[in-house]
Symmetry: C2
Subunit: 340 residues, 2 copies
């Protein structure tokens, strides 16, 4: 963790409002629209500071992976005095960090060495333990938004970590399904799904001694991929060195297949789910990543519209077996295109 090179903290004071019809919180950080900091087009805030008079987000120095506080957070631990409204409001306590994957601004996660990717899995674990250890934080979500198609404006390889004061709706629902399954079967829903996929084989993209990646049989997005350790493992901190090494191989394989599919950088949201940091043991939960790519084919985006946004039922024009087959055909070498 680097101290911020900025003398002027942003005094973020986001607040939550309760959505009574959905039973969920929405966070408002209106100050984000008034960013005083308008970088010139060539300015890269995720590069290391070269001239202290013109600081970037990173102080001078050499690093492999850098983590720092998001200057424009949607959640902040010192939020206070939320405004009153016609719905309940609360301070948006939480924490947002930026994780820079490399000093090379034109590289990508897929191009990093296996050891760098292993280090990233370790960093996510360290940050989860540190942030999740604060009593206000109940869930830590590392993710990467990649590509202009998902709204990314900074192309320097980086991800984010959001730490929530509650378990947010998507992982909360996931945990409820995993818990019910665990109570009924005494085993992990995701580990059992992974075993079935390994046996079936037709949607598998990577299978190593300790990790697996596959297109889920119930994909809601074309080219959706899940990856995880094959054996029960509830969070990053619980990964054995062998699991971590194989998970890095699985991740790099999937990323290279994505980029190789159409011979261009493949955009996606990559979301990592793990056990809540709420003090409970969570034997039902499995650490895993889900990729949500925005394209339905090489030329067309999949738009979320009527039935997806309005009803919450996803409609797919392509079978998971077809996109899995396409990705299986992409040959990759884990040693190629390695950039430190």
């Amino acid at each position: 963790m680097a101290p911020s090179p900025f003398a002027d903290p942003q005094h973020a004071n986001p607040h939550l409002r309760w959505h009574p019809l959905r039973g969920e919180w929405v966070t408002y950080a209106a100050y984000r629209q008034n960013r005083t900091f308008q970088p010139p087009p060539q300015y890269n805030p995720l590069a290391v500071t070269m001239d202290p008079a013109n600081p970037t987000e990173l102080p001078q120095g050499d690093y492999e992976i850098a983590v720092f506080d998001n200057r424009f957070p949607s959640l902040a631990l010192d939020s206070h005095d939320p405004p009153a409204s016609t719905v309940p409001t609360a301070p948006a306590n939480g924490h947002c960090e930026v994780v820079v994957f490399t000093q090379d601004p034109v590289s990508s996660l897929s191009a990093l060495s296996l050891s760098r990717i292993e280090l990233l899995l370790q960093v996510w674990g360290d940050r989860t333990t540190r942030i999740g250890g604060q009593h206000n934080i109940h869930y830590v979500l590392p993710f990467e938004n990649r590509g202009a198609e998902v709204g990314v404006t900074l192309h320097h390889p980086h991800g984010q970590i959001y730490a929530y004061p509650f378990v947010p709706p998507v992982p909360a629902n996931m945990l409820a399904q995993e818990r019910e399954y665990f109570l009924q079967h005494g085993s992990s829903l995701l580990c059992d799904m992974a075993r079935l996929e390994a046996e079936d084989g037709q949607r598998v993209l990577y299978q190593g001694p300790h990790a697996i990646a596959f297109v889920p049989p119930c994909a809601r997005y074309p080219y959706e991929v899940w990856l995880m350790p094959s054996a029960p493992c509830k969070d990053f901190a619980a990964l054995t060195p062998e699991q971590r090494a194989d998970l890095a191989r699985a991740l790099k394989t999937v990323l290279l297949k994505f980029d190789g599919l159409w011979d261009r950088p493949f955009p996606y949201l990559m979301s990592w789910y793990q056990a809540p940091t709420d003090g409970a043991s969570h034997p039902e939960t499995q650490l895993h990543a889900e990729f949500f790519p925005p394209y339905r084919n090489r030329d067309r985006l999949k738009y979320l519209a009527g039935t997806e946004i309005g009803a919450g039922m996803f409609a797919m024009d392509v079978l998971p077996e077809s996109t899995a087959y396409e990705l299986q055909q992409v040959q990759v070498s884990l040693e190629e295109r390695v950039v430190q």
Copy 2:
């Protein structure tokens, strides 16, 4: 309802797959990718057929509002024999219709007369009663995707109706919240919210004797708007003529404000929620529309990414009060730009 002018039905046979980690169904209609029907650029399938040798989706004739079966449905009542997979599968029983709002291909819902909009509300009611009366159909959702920004390729003014064999996740969650509120308070959650908004006033866009439109205090999208009858009304069929007339005025007001905001057609998803057609009485439920516009400001789209898609917690850079103020400033006349 018009009979299809096509001799060749598509033999749609979509199927559902169970998503164990989310506890929801996903529908697959792989044949949709193989549409044999490639219209020339100038061809408008939503216009009336002029030459029977080159049929559109609509037979010859004069109409105000036309409803016909979607030729490429994601759900079909005669679906059968779903393929086996590693997750449970089922026939994708359901029904998909197209609703054409006018014969004028360059008009818009906002430009239609109040009487035409009232007729549309009646049509939605008639279709809900008819389709919802079938024993396999538990939820009927009328919606309109408008604009290339939400993936619409046919600009002839039209909407769709999806009829589901179950109550899908978004309305199911909504109903659960409404039910809990109704049990606790003995009144409608949405009617009580609408009353608070009317009293507060700062987010109200339309207030008539029987209907109200406002930016919700818990908006998840910039320019999100809700509109509804002010008094309890569970579905389109239950609207009184006075409610229907005022709801048409509320709807046209919102649509004109949207189009007037940046003096260009405003894209949105408009979703209409009502009581399930599952045979229960649903006193807790309120008929209402929600608009989900894709823009965060005149020039930039709001991308759903990490926290929205990955976690299900929406993060907003703009307060509902600000977007409500912008829309309040747009002056509209309900009699202007009326096109029959």
